[in-house]
Subunit: 333 residues, 2 copies
């Protein structure tokens, strides 16, 4: 568990997209983002106060989160100087970079000297159990996609936010590094050893109050041959009560696999639901989230209407329209 709130380190981000982890924290947990720390040349701006390490510490920041991708997989000396200073100022540091904090001798030494923690959120920090398949109390929702990277995390975060806005009991359960940094906790599922994947998802979504919903961050796709095993473990470890189908209508082939076509939403439904019912016979497909970022407003509306009529389920783009109708669908369950 990463201590909140954060000071968000944007470094020398070459463009706004490089700072998308920080942007995710700013969008979904603004209360966790005390300020931003930018180095000369930084081209990203979260429109929150620029702060020095000392100012943000005064304002209560506990952890410096690296909210930006590093160039070429190397943590530069300019970054290291700031990070070492942060440890001396009393910050923990959290990072989702491929290059690990724990592999940087200067950081390891400074963390030890000052009694601070280094969180590499790409690596599991827990010994997860083998899944036992026991039925847990509380409710769970999982988005499954026709492909990877079609908006499953966004959908889960938007549904969680909408539920909390309505005063419903809800938790977003992160399974990837961005989600873990946004919420301060979770399971880096793609880095878990095969035998413990489903058990890690069970651990992440424990017994809860009967009316509480976990919104589990989806990963991969049953139809993406590189990652389908991870998706399968989410479906069986998460034992969802509700599935959301996620889709990106302009995708011409599976991400990174030019010879693989996307499945139809019907095929996704007919594949995922029977598999989910192995772990939870009551599971239902309740709605569809469509990432229409590649369409203009008219085309998006037409696309959503066509899918909604065809599938007989609410079809929304949570980014354009909010997740209200998906939450309504859960509420009716």
């Amino acid at each position: 568990m990463i201590k909140t709130p954060y000071l968000l380190f944007l470094g020398d981000a070459p463009d706004p997209l490089a700072a998308k982890v920080a942007q995710g924290i700013r969008d979904w947990r603004p209360e966790n983002a005390v300020g931003q720390l930018r180095l000369p040349g930084c081209k990203a701006d979260l429109r929150i106060p620029d702060m020095t390490l000392a100012d943000a510490r005064q304002a209560g920041a506990q952890t410096l989160v690296i909210g930006v991708a590093n160039r070429g997989g190397v943590i530069s000396d300019a970054w290291l100087d700031v990070l070492v200073e942060a440890l001396a100022e009393g910050y923990d540091i959290a990072s989702g970079l491929h290059t690990l904090l724990r592999d940087q001798p200067r950081l390891v030494e400074a963390a030890r000297e000052h009694g601070r923690e280094l969180h590499d959120v790409r690596l599991p920090a827990v010994r997860y159990p083998i899944a036992d398949g026991r039925k847990r109390s509380g409710k769970r929702c999982l988005a499954v996609g026709t492909d990877c990277s079609v908006g499953k995390m966004y959908t889960a975060l938007a549904m969680d936010a909408e539920m909390r806005k309505r005063g419903m009991k809800s938790t977003f359960r992160a399974t990837g590094q961005t989600g873990i940094l946004v919420t301060g906790e979770g399971v880096p599922l793609d880095a878990v050893v095969a035998d413990f994947m489903a058990g890690a998802v069970e651990w992440l979504t424990p017994d809860n109050e009967a009316e509480h919903w976990d919104h589990i961050e989806g990963q991969g796709s049953l139809f993406h041959v590189s990652y389908s095993g991870v998706t399968m473990a989410l479906i069986h470890g998460g034992q969802p009560d509700a599935l959301i189908l996620s889709h990106e209508p302009t995708r011409t082939h599976m991400r990174g696999l030019p010879d693989y076509d996307l499945p139809s939403l019907e095929t996704l439904r007919d594949t995922a639901l029977p598999l989910a019912r192995i772990a939870n016979p009551a599971c239902e497909v309740v709605g569809i989230s469509v990432n229409t970022a590649g369409l203009d407003e008219d085309a998006a509306v037409t696309c959503l209407r066509e899918i909604e009529e065809r599938m007989g389920l609410p079809a929304v783009d949570p980014f354009r329209q909010g997740a209200g109708r998906l939450v309504d669908a859960l509420d009716r369950l």
Copy 2:
């Protein structure tokens, strides 16, 4: 890759079952089993020559394989004395024990001193790639089960043996520690990190001659919620041309999951085949292997006949009847 042939270490096995890894090597790769090394009190006997370390070395043995489970997860001093002596005699050591050789300081030191290798086959020794889904040449067969531990490894080994007996081109591809020790190589799939599971299976079953068959050792079951993700990765990474359905007819619930019923063979077929066709549209279910160890001869014959008529596919127990009819079915593909 583990150097063959082996001297099989049975230690002080309390009963024959404790030495089942050694028995597997003796049954499936007798040419790899130069002899057995037993300590006082050993209750297992492979009916191959008892040899000292020096005798077996003279006879060509390269690796001492620990073919027995250790008691209480501890490698005893009596074992360690033998293992250290083996390293001094010029043996490598291979083990599938949970307790790792590399965690035994005496072994690590002796291996370094004598320039020998310690193989802990439960741990991956390779950095596997992310799966790319590219269609590979050659043919692949995978057994998928209604449950775990229903005879998938046995089926693959029996089909491989039958093919080689017929002069066909065939390789058994091990994905678990017993299979790896039997053949000297493979992937310990349940210990691979989630993102690399399917890639590890691709790596294990590379391009091959058009008429060559890989018999991929199955793991878990799509219907076993603890391990279904591993099974999924085998189906998509292995891109099988042929599936064998494996079943144990006396099982009353999923192994270790008392609240989970087994699926029917029809449900297994209708679930596994569409998933397999994502990676290989030409995949077919060609036969059924039934583990009838829990039935007497009459009941077994009746069971097999009933399944064969119901499913319209050859149904055999490879242990009672050999794998000939399953190989015939592959040959017809």
